[in-house]
């Protein structure tokens, strides 16, 4: 076996999640879809003149879909979420749920704003193939097979997440976020407070911070936090650190710009479904800690 093959196998093994934790995530995600469903119903109540689908398959629609079609989509979303929740035909129902979420979101995003919830919509597809139906599911009761999860699909999911973040980082570099003369984060906060449409709890406080070093640091830190994941994904302990930084970053964005990324907890969780003592295996401090543990329990 080549070094590359061995490396990919090591990556897959390092990302392979615990099947029971994954089963709990499946139930929690399906419950989230049921309790906080994407609302499609309002699109049937606004004029067609506002309908401008983004380039792609949704652009095949020339008018807002009829109310019965929207209702069918809404019901299909709920029914599939129930099937995913109980773990019935999990790979198929999870894939179908992703399709419904992508199509439904596409219609909702045809009003001049594409929200960036694609990872949430694709999550059932990815985690269905990782094996989130392997335990705590009807499938498990029927088949009595060994509960297995696939770390290689987690690697592909990690690449997807890292790539998504990279697409947020590089345009910032191209539009002057690195320039010492510009305070881009501050510009966005000030603009949002001025527009007053949607501001976070800390927005007013943040605008009062006249600290150039702080604002420039925020610009650079944002680009780093989003950009380095595309490399870190090939070293699982660093990727996990990167995701923890991203989680903190999302909290900061919520408090200042009121953009809610809490559903991304579902997106990141699968990378932490192993024993916490193995999260950072490969990093020197983790090695020392584990070596220390061995010394402690050795006679």
């Amino acid at each position: 076996m080549s070094h590359l093959q061995t490396y990919v196998n090591w990556l897959s093994n390092s990302y392979r999640p615990n099947p029971v934790a994954l089963g709990v995530l499946r139930i929690a995600f399906a419950a989230h879809v049921l309790l906080f469903p994407v609302d499609y119903s309002w699109v049937a109540r606004v004029p067609n003149a506002l309908f401008l689908p983004p380039p792609g398959p949704i652009a095949l629609l020339h008018t807002i879909p009829p109310e019965w079609a929207i209702l069918t989509l809404q019901i299909a979303q709920a029914a599939l979420a129930v099937l995913v929740l109980v773990g019935f035909g999990t790979k198929i129902t999870s894939t179908a749920l992703s399709v419904v979420l992508v199509v439904g979101n596409g219609i909702v995003f045809s009003f001049n704003k594409v929200d960036h919830t694609i990872l949430y919509a694709l999550l059932p597809l990815a985690l269905g193939f990782i094996g989130w139906g392997a335990t705590l599911s009807v499938d498990r009761l029927i088949r009595h097979c060994v509960a297995r999860t696939d770390g290689f699909v987690v690697l592909l999911w990690g690449l997807t997440v890292a790539f998504a973040m990279f697409t947020a980082a590089y345009p910032k570099v191209l539009t002057g976020w690195l320039s010492p003369a510009r305070e881009a984060t501050r510009e966005f906060v000030v603009r949002d407070v001025s527009d007053g449409v949607q501001v976070g709890l800390l927005a007013e406080f943040m605008t009062s911070l006249d600290l150039q070093f702080f604002w420039k640091f925020m610009d650079w830190a944002t680009i780093f936090a989003e950009g380095w994941l595309i490399l870190a994904v090939f070293f699982p302990p660093l990727f996990r650190i990167g995701l923890l930084i991203m989680a903190a970053f999302h909290v900061g964005v919520y408090l200042t710009l009121a953009i809610d990324y809490f559903s991304y907890l579902f997106v990141y969780a699968v990378f932490f479904f192993r024993g916490p003592s193995t999260w950072f295996d490969g990093l020197s401090f983790a090695y020392r800690r584990r070596t220390g543990e061995k010394v402690l329990i050795s006679p």
Binding site: M1, Q5, V8, N9, S12, N13, D39, S41, W42, V46, P47, A49, L50, L52, P53, P54, P55, G56, N105, G106, V108, F109, F111, N112, K113, D115, H116, I118, L122, V146, R148, D150, G151, F152, L156, L159, T160, F163, A164, M165, T167, A168, P171, K172, L174, T175, A181, R182, E183, A184, R186, E187, V190, R191, S194, D195, V197, Q198, D210, I259
Partner: protein, 169 residues
């Protein structure tokens, strides 16, 4: 039955994984290329928000507030927030962009655009009645003015006169 580790060690599995990884990376690259070549953001693509406006004049930022004035038959004049005008059930993130798309002067040039669409006019009339049930709506004005803000204070440093889009019912 072989364990997952044993399956992974099989040369065929390892080869398949390498090919799948390469194809997947190519797929991600291809959809990024699609995104870059499109004049508007395509969907569905794996993408996150860029917050990438071009650099502003040093120390200031341009804002274009959304100001609506509705006049009723009984003389009542109201200035609803964008969210009030568009409706509480309108998706929150689409409210501002839809308002811009429908009511900006450049999108209604030459008498073409949302403001000359009968369905839109009827909808705006019904929205105006929801905001004030006591009197019939007479007109609606959308004021567009570029405002430059100081990023240190958040206060306007310069404001252009309104460019008004007017709709008489």
């Amino acid at each position: 039955m072989q364990s997952p580790d044993e399956v992974a060690q099989r040369p065929n599995t390892a080869n398949r994984r390498l090919v799948a990884l390469a194809v997947f990376i190519l797929f991600l690259g291809a959809q990024l290329a699609w995104s870059l070549l499109s004049d508007r953001e395509p969907y569905p693509v794996v993408k996150m928000p860029a917050f990438a406006l071009q650099a502003e004049t040093e120390g200031t930022v341009l804002s274009r507030p959304q100001l609506t004035t509705i006049t009723y038959e009984d003389g009542t004049v109201i200035t609803p927030a964008v969210r009030e005008l568009m409706g509480e059930d309108f998706r929150y993130s689409a409210v501002g962009p839809s308002y811009d798309y429908a009511f900006r002067p450049e999108n209604n040039a030459g008498g073409k655009g949302a403001l000359s669409d009968p369905e839109m006019i009827s909808w705006l009339s019904s929205r105006a009645q929801v905001l004030n049930e006591k009197s019939e709506v007479v007109s609606m004005e959308f004021c567009w003015k570029d405002t430059r803000l100081d990023i240190a204070t958040g206060q306007p440093v310069s404001t252009q006169p309104c460019e008004i889009m007017r709709l008489d019912f």
